[in-house]
Amino acid sequence: MLVRFWGTRGSLPVATRAEQVRAKLVGALTAASGRTFADAGEANAFLDGLDDFALTGGYGGASSCVEIEGGDGDFTVCDMGSGLREFGLSALARVSAGHPRRFNIFLSHLHWDHIMGFPFFAPAFDPAATIVVHAGHADAEAALRRQQEEISFPVAFDWLRAKIEFVHMTPGAPREVGGMTVSLIEQFHSHDSYGWRFEAGGKAVVYSTDSEHKSEAMAAEDRFSDFFGRADLVVCDTMYSLRDTVSLKQDWGHSSSLVAIDLCRSAAARRLALFHHEPTYSDAQIQGMHRDAIAYEELTRGDGPAVEVLCAYDGLEVTV
């Protein structure tokens, strides 16, 4: 399976500002300290050697959208945040090369940052395309139609040309979709959210975002460990520090890297991707959060196996 991240930012898309780009350039030029590079390859090798992704790259700013390859050839996508626009353009290019025009979408929930990309999803205007939206929410279609009403958007939902279907799924009732076994779990979030598990060819990927793991419900967290069980990759909402989730931002519906690591360890999952990054965080702050998460995993590993902690960014591809 291949997991491709098109949008990793939480709550609100963000863009890198001019002064932030300038700071990266100044940092890289300062680090180069008079070196010369014969070609782009040498320059790239130097940047890789700095081992500072916040300086030499960046985490991106599109909101939640993750593509999973590994089924029977249909497109499989989790959430339709602003990252869906870029995915749609990539999909059209692949369709031009012969890829089937069938899209299986799985929604964590219906909040704006997770559906805002749909009005800009180019394949929705393709009359030969089929888009099947799977959701644990019975009101998914209403949410998508509402955001394209005239008061919010100039192009009405009914003007879209693709064949658009909605499938309501319930926890405990897995389905075979696009060559993968797909199941879901209800999560704590305003108006509920759902985590998704995709299995194919002996591999498993879990997508669990916008999920708060509350202190008063710790005794029930084993159901998440079961759902994450032995997954090859778990994509988890790690938006806040643990302190924030139990204080100022309690009941805001999000979680921390510490809880995600512990759930993955209990589940014997191999890898965790930190996801749904706080929109006010700079690249340096996200990188710091990633380093803290790795340190916490090492400090609390005990006698158990390691959980590899990745930090998702727009454009990251992970093979599982």
Binding site: S215, E216, M218, A219, E221, S241, L242, R243, D244, V246, S247, S256, L258, V259, I261, D262, S266, D292, A293, A295, Y296, L299, T300, G302
Partner: protein, 108 residues
């Protein structure tokens, strides 16, 4: 994890020992609740001595913050003390060092 309490002057000191993780967080949480009830009944403050804790996972940390809320409700002053190197790092990573008063040493 072992747990002991000791009264030192006007403080009740709770002493967890070992790892606090998914296997024993509930016992840790119950010990904290009982200690806060004792501190309230005897008009003591409450300090958790972390010097014997190897590490604490998120459930142990959340048990601590739940206890802090209960202590405030009960009018009991609660603090942490003497974290070793690993616990210092965990408190910093979780930002719990901003949530709790953390003494480097157990107060006299």
């Amino acid at each position: 994890m072992d747990w002991k309490t000791e009264t030192r002057g006007e403080r009740l000191v709770g002493r967890p020992h070992g790892r606090v993780d998914e296997s024993n967080w509930l016992a840790f949480s119950q010990a904290l609740v009982a200690a806060i009830a004792t501190a309230q009944a005897e008009a003591l403050s409450f300090v958790v001595d972390l010097s014997g804790v190897d590490y604490m996972s998120s459930r142990g940390l959340r048990a601590l913050s739940t206890a802090l809320a209960a202590a405030k409700e009960a009018g009991v002053e609660m603090a942490l003390a003497a974290p070793g190197r690993a616990m210092q790092q965990i408190l910093a990573i979780s930002r719990y060092d901003k949530l709790f008063t953390v003494h480097d040493m157990l107060p006299d």
